[in-house]
């Protein structure tokens, strides 16, 4: 679009102080879709530059985690794995978890890392954490290939529930974006976020049924408190992933709904907070 020859009225911009809650401009985001693509592309390119193993890390990370988890939770703690071979039981959960945890970490720091761009050029700031989250999909896809291999090896073939997989992937990304928006906007004002992120993801990992079944927790806490465990949207994501790929049952659809509602609440509040902090990013970052 060479606008030079076509000074369309739509190019008119009015700059004035914003009052009240900032709206969410999807149209604006769409206009900048190429920038989303380029920043995602940059994040992917940069991630493994000057690393010895490059993209192999996308596979190594979950594989090593899987071995450690199997040893500790399977061999030492002796937790059950819903009758599924433990390696694939854990690996299937680590995929969405890593997608989520890496996205939260990258997005949370993203505004500060891209400070230079924010103070010099205008674009919807949302693009920065968003592209960090999108760039994680490639790692996910690479690691997913290994999962396919493992499924063949163990002779596990998914049933029709496999079609729900994209939905759970979306749920994990919605959660990651919600949390990422909160953290990145907070990080602009409070650099404490940098220290909170590793702690937060570690803690979050433990309360998410990655190395164990969600059932183990539900069976041990009073039924009236089930909602508390399900408040963590990643519970729904992990249960859903296992159900879609390995055919394990979902504990209850009620708790799944709680996860979905929490994820959407995180995203909506994150968007509102982010949009309203956005106007001061360039002045304070």
């Amino acid at each position: 679009m060479s606008a030079v020859t076509n000074p369309a009225a739509s190019d008119t911009v009015i700059i004035k102080p914003q009052r009240g809650l900032a709206g969410f401009d999807l149209h604006e985001l769409w206009r900048f879709r190429e920038l989303i693509f380029f920043l995602t592309w940059r994040d992917i390119l940069v991630r493994y530059k000057q690393t010895l193993l490059g993209g192999t890390w996308a596979i190594l990370q979950p594989l090593l985690q899987m071995f450690v988890f199997n040893f500790i939770f399977g061999n030492i703690a002796g937790l059950s794995s819903a009758g599924i071979p433990r390696p694939i039981f854990t690996y299937a959960a680590l995929l969405p978890w890593n997608l989520f945890a890496n996205a939260v970490g990258d997005a949370g720091r993203s505004l500060v890392t891209n400070r230079n761009m924010i103070t010099k050029v205008y674009f919807p700031r949302l693009i920065i954490p968003l592209s960090d989250i999108l760039s994680g999909i490639l790692d996910f896809a690479i690691a997913f290939l290994i999962l396919v291999g493992m499924m063949f090896y163990y002779g596990i073939f998914p049933n029709e529930a496999i079609w729900t997989l994209p939905f759970y992937m979306l749920l994990s990304m919605v959660t990651a974006l919600g949390v990422g928006l909160w953290l990145s906007a907070l990080n602009v004002h409070y650099r404490d976020v940098k220290y909170i992120i590793p702690f937060l993801t570690q803690f979050w990992m433990l309360i998410t049924p990655i190395a164990y079944e969600a059932k183990e927790i539900y069976d041990r806490i009073p039924e009236g408190l089930h909602w508390l465990f399900a408040l963590n949207p990643m519970v729904g994501v992990i249960e859903g992933f296992r159900a879609a790929l390995l055919g394990t049952p979902i504990y209850s659809t009620d708790t799944l709904w709680i996860s979905i509602v929490t994820a959407i609440t995180l995203l909506v509040t994150g968007l509102i907070y982010f949009r309203n902090m956005e106007r001061t990013f360039a002045d304070t970052v």
């Binding site: 679009m1 060479s2 606008a3 030079v4 000074p7 009225a9 190019d11 008119t12 911009v13 009015i14 700059i15 004035k16 102080p17 914003q18 190429e34 920038l35 693509f37 380029f38 920043l39 592309w41 940059r42 390119l45 940069v46 530059k49 000057q50 230079n116 761009m117 924010i118 103070t119 010099k120 050029v121 205008y122 674009f123 602009v188 004002h189 409070y190 650099r191 404490d192 106007r279 001061t280 360039a282 002045d283 304070t284 970052v285």
Partner: protein, 430 residues
């Protein structure tokens, strides 16, 4: 449709000057503030916590489509704030601006460049950040590479580039941006002279192509060459608007360019400068008169007047002398001499003047800028203003002026030339 590409009405931007040095807060600060709130409330300290200052206030102007408007003003006059608002990086606190057309803003070249990526990758990335479409970048790719002159290294990570190559590549991308309205900050202050000329050339192409340009620069000759009309900003307010030649004259003669003397008002000194408080900087001729035009063949005296509210250890107060284009000629501090260094190891509170004399036959004709720096080496920088005071040097009567030609270079020393006759031609003939 209105014929104005840019219309600015009563635009203002207020910044909060915190008592704290950092512009971001930690959670601890917030917690401490919350806890100590009642105490501070009782002590009446609340209003001192942060001061509000207007970086830009009630600025109104318009730019017709296809015109080039210059923006002149010293550091802190609000030029950058104005450009940041117009390029939507930051929001105004008051007023509004209407911009009709696609805006390309160059507050810096190479925004978004990533050191790990190759030149090729960075062209695409930077182009996208500046608002170019992928197809547009691909179409201009060869042209961009050619203009930059780094074709050989286009697939090398830019972290291996020299700073010159990096800048050339970055500028090439920016120069191929084709917005209807171009907002340009002092991007030309970088790079070598030849590159600057190339950039200025490209910039006038932009202006001739009928685009609307808002151009900020310290470089008066660039402003004169590229713009027809200029506005002068001072302390956030627009004080003058006229054809560029007049505006530059106004700026240079009204004391806004601080010729001869620069006096710092209280609001220009940040709280971080304490205990150092700059009062004034002056340039004097040999008769002791404060002057904005000095003779090359006479000595020039400059002085910095300041106060110290508490004893300061290892303080050095000094100047940077720069050309009008911002190239540093030298840096010198009042305690450079070991004798003074030892004597003033700790400077007691009081009112001081540090003076130095620049020898005669030192500077060439032209405009020069003095910067000030007050610091304790590796401990703290109290105050710094890189462009505190400008003055002119006239070369009348200086060595070599029997040839009425401009001489290159910032210095014009009187050298001890000798001519020896090794063999006289007459002797040879004989």
């Amino acid at each position: 449709m209105s014929n104005y590409a840019i219309e600015v009405r009563g635009l203002g931007k207020q910044y909060r000057l915190g008592g704290k040095s950092s512009n971001y807060r930690t959670l601890r600060d917030t917690i401490v503030d919350t806890v100590t709130f009642p105490v501070r409330l009782l002590k009446g300290e609340l209003r001192n916590r942060s001061e509000l200052i207007w970086a830009l206030r009630d600025v109104s102007f318009e730019v017709e489509r296809g015109k080039v408007l210059g923006v002149i003003g010293r550091n802190g006059a609000g030029k950058s704030t104005l450009l940041k608002i117009l390029s939507r990086v930051t929001e105004p606190s008051a007023g509004y601006a209407e911009i009709r057309g696609r805006v390309g803003s160059l507050l810096e070249v190479g925004t978004g460049f990533h050191p790990e990526l190759t030149g090729r990758e960075n062209i695409f990335l930077n182009g996208a950040v500046l608002g170019m479409k992928r197809r547009e970048i691909a179409g201009k790719f060869d042209e961009i590479v050619e203009f930059s002159g780094v074709a050989k290294f286009i697939d090398t990570a830019v972290k291996h580039y020299s700073s010159g190559m990096y800048l050339r590549l970055a500028f090439s991308v920016a120069a191929h941006l084709e917005p209807e309205i171009l907002v340009v900050d002092e991007v030309l202050a970088v790079g070598d002279a030849e590159f600057q000329r190339k950039c200025l050339g490209k910039m006038s192409d932009v202006a001739e192509a009928g685009r609307t340009v808002l151009f900020v620069s310290h470089n008066m000759s660039a402003i004169l060459r590229l713009t027809e009309e200029s506005i002068v900003l001072d302390r956030g307010q627009m004080v003058y608007r006229a054809p560029t030649r007049q505006a530059v004259d106004f700026y240079m003669s009204s004391g806004l360019s601080q010729s001869g003397e620069r006096v710092w008002s209280a609001e220009e000194i940040s709280a971080e400068a304490a205990p150092f408080k700059p009062i004034a900087m002056r340039v004097r001729d040999p008769q002791g008169k404060v002057a904005d035009t000095l003779q090359s063949r006479q000595p020039v005296e400059f002085e910095i007047e300041y106060e110290l509210s508490t004893p300061v250890q290892g303080l050095r107060v000094g100047v940077y002398l720069q050309t009008g284009r911002g190239e540093v000629i030298f840096t010198s501090f009042d305690t450079d001499e070991p004798e003074l260094y030892n004597k003033y190891a700790t400077r007691a509170p009081g009112h001081y003047v540090s003076r130095a004399v620049l020898p005669a036959n030192f500077l060439n004709e032209g405009q020069y800028v003095l910067g000030i720096n007050a610091s304790a080496f590796r401990v703290r920088r109290f105050f710094q203003d890189e462009r505190a005071l400008a003055f002119n040097v006239d070369s009348m009567g200086a060595p070599g002026t029997q040839w009425p030609e401009p001489r290159q270079g910032p210095v014009r020393p009187q050298l001890d030339w000798r001519i020896e006759v090794l063999e006289s031609a007459e002797k040879v003939r004989a």
